[in-house]
Symmetry: none
Subunit: 201 residues, 4 copies
Amino acid sequence: MGRPCPDSACDPIDPRVRRTRSVVHEATIEILVGDGFEGLSIESVAQRAGVARTTIYRNWRSKADLVIDAFSSLAPPPEIEPVGEVRADLMAILGHLAHELPRARWVSVLAALVAAAECDEELAREKRSLSEVRQRPLLKVIRAAIEAGQIRSDADPKVVLAMLAGPLFYRRLMSEEAINLDFVAEVVDGVLAGLGYEPGA
Amino acid sequence: MGRPCPDSACDPIDPRVRRTRSVVHEATIEILVGDGFEGLSIESVAQRAGVARTTIYRNWRSKADLVIDAFSSLAPPPEIEPVGEVRADLMAILGHLAHELPRARWVSVLAALVAAAECDEELAREKRSLSEVRQRPLLKVIRAAIEAGQIRSDADPKVVLAMLAGPLFYRRLMSEEAINLDFVAEVVDGVLAGLGYEPGA
Amino acid sequence: MGRPCPDSACDPIDPRVRRTRSVVHEATIEILVGDGFEGLSIESVAQRAGVARTTIYRNWRSKADLVIDAFSSLAPPPEIEPVGEVRADLMAILGHLAHELPRARWVSVLAALVAAAECDEELAREKRSLSEVRQRPLLKVIRAAIEAGQIRSDADPKVVLAMLAGPLFYRRLMSEEAINLDFVAEVVDGVLAGLGYEPGA
Amino acid sequence: MGRPCPDSACDPIDPRVRRTRSVVHEATIEILVGDGFEGLSIESVAQRAGVARTTIYRNWRSKADLVIDAFSSLAPPPEIEPVGEVRADLMAILGHLAHELPRARWVSVLAALVAAAECDEELAREKRSLSEVRQRPLLKVIRAAIEAGQIRSDADPKVVLAMLAGPLFYRRLMSEEAINLDFVAEVVDGVLAGLGYEPGA
DNA sequence: AAGTAATCGAGACGGTACGTCCAGTCTTACA
DNA sequence: TGTAAGACTGGACGTACCGTCTCGATTACTT
């Protein structure tokens, strides 16, 4: 019990290493946000972090690794408490997403991630995993709505999710049209209507 | 008919230039498809095209330019003749898209384009323009359906479009789940149901 | 006469290349003389020459190449006209060498060359070739003396050369004792005496 | 007299230190012989010796230090007992040297030492000291010959030494010509003849 | 048909970044 | 205290491309 425990919490991790991780992390994000994926080079990260290039190679296997690290910490799934009413819950989650999409730092990184994943299986795996994590809150709401009989019981939650989130990302990454609350409401109402949702219920 | 034709044939374009454009174009696509955006360098294009590097710089301002060129020619909006029945027409267009998304060469290029556009205003412009072109067939069908009274008259065609196309791109670029005809049908039917569409009508 | 001459003078050599060669050359020598072989890095040469590192790699295959180039230009065999009297001629040549050994820049380079040649066959070849060239004037004098009957006819010119030059280099590289004219005279007289030379003759 | 003796035998030297010295020493020699001076890095020595790099830095101030250490132990002046007849004694010593020059491990190291000494005063000092030690046996023979009247009494022993050893080193390091017993004999006989030596005496 | 101009290839150049190796310093933990 | 282990800064390596720049040599249009 008095022995050093084996995990991260109280791990006897070299404080120098911890410091390195932190500054490099921060530098990666700053560059990614400022200059995009193109501007991200090991060199530039090292420079901005005030760290030797070798140190980065010691701690991250590739540029991709840096990006994943950065993204993971940038985009924690939002903490939104569902109230049990499907429309309200969807509006809360998607409204938050709609607010973030045009401005949050992680979105640019996501775009880079998506592109890079096209020709890097490891990155693709990483991307799927991140995606899965971020879908959870939405899926929970959808499944709850199905169980509560608020929407059609034969609906496929994952399809519903794609129908809800897809339009938002489409506008952000493809058409670059506005993503305001009206748009979100139209999407949510349209999808719910198609699923037999009745507001009054 | 007697007018100078708008295209290459009789344009007073130096045949050497024409040839250069063509071989470089071809090489760009081949590399893009084979090695992805990462493998695309002016050097590699020049090499594969059997052309001097200088020649490329003379004709394209940047790597982005090459990509746009390649993409434009890779992804011609499909020639699908609407029959006037909204569900059938949407299924035709989106079914085609669903078929292409997992395999067509332009999709990877699109991902690269999207990411690059994040930090290059010119590319972003280019991207929007391409996007706009590709939306047309779908928009035409949606607007026709509205005019024909097949769906609610207060529907915003662009919102409807995002709700139809968004889920497909979402699955391709984000979640990497299957994009089969069942999925397309669920999306189309869901959206149409939300728009007051009645199959029998 | 009107034909393009084959040599450097009017060779259609890119003037940029000529300039590069020259400044790099000079920088190499300066560093070699100042900091020795250890201080010679492609980087340092590039820096001092005010040239990109790549440019050096384009024109020289290795650090060794640089050194050889430098040495060749530094150490032209001296132009000493033999008068036909062996002792006088040897004293002229070896006296000149004795004067150079403690001060001339090529000597340090030579030491570097010798060491580097120990583990680089190409350099070793180069070294032998240089050595051969520099032996010529001395060999000529020795052979002439043999033919003129000034020294024993069964003497091996190459052995005699080693006996004359060896002691000088030994003092310069090994023992670091003085190499003055007295020493040269002692060596020359000693060797000649052993070869049956008679001053008066 | 009661003080601890100055040498290793009874010094209260930490046995770990002694062990370190020994394995590093051995590793240095092995690498020097195997890969030459170029292949010698603190890193490589540490690796082969199975020792931490830090340990080496603690015990040797530089790579040069390692080399000197290695050289001292590699090239012990040969134990040759002079018989009192100058030609025989010279042939014994120089014959031995001639045999070693083309093959012994210390020769390459010597070349490195010579080059390095060109721009490192400490090394130069070290080199002179080593040189001085190795000259002793030869000097002893020469001086004895002078005293015994076998060669001219006005000969400078150090000059004679340079005339004897110089040609051998010259061939080894410069011209890379053969160094066989015939060559040694020619040199010895030539020098002795110049010094008034008479075989019969 | 000859002369002019556009286009080309070849490739040198200064650069940036890569990923690796090593140098030398420093810190921590252990024996 | 000396050592092992290993992280750190930093410099150089040799390679790949970048984008710019001359420089002839074709090739096409023009007169």
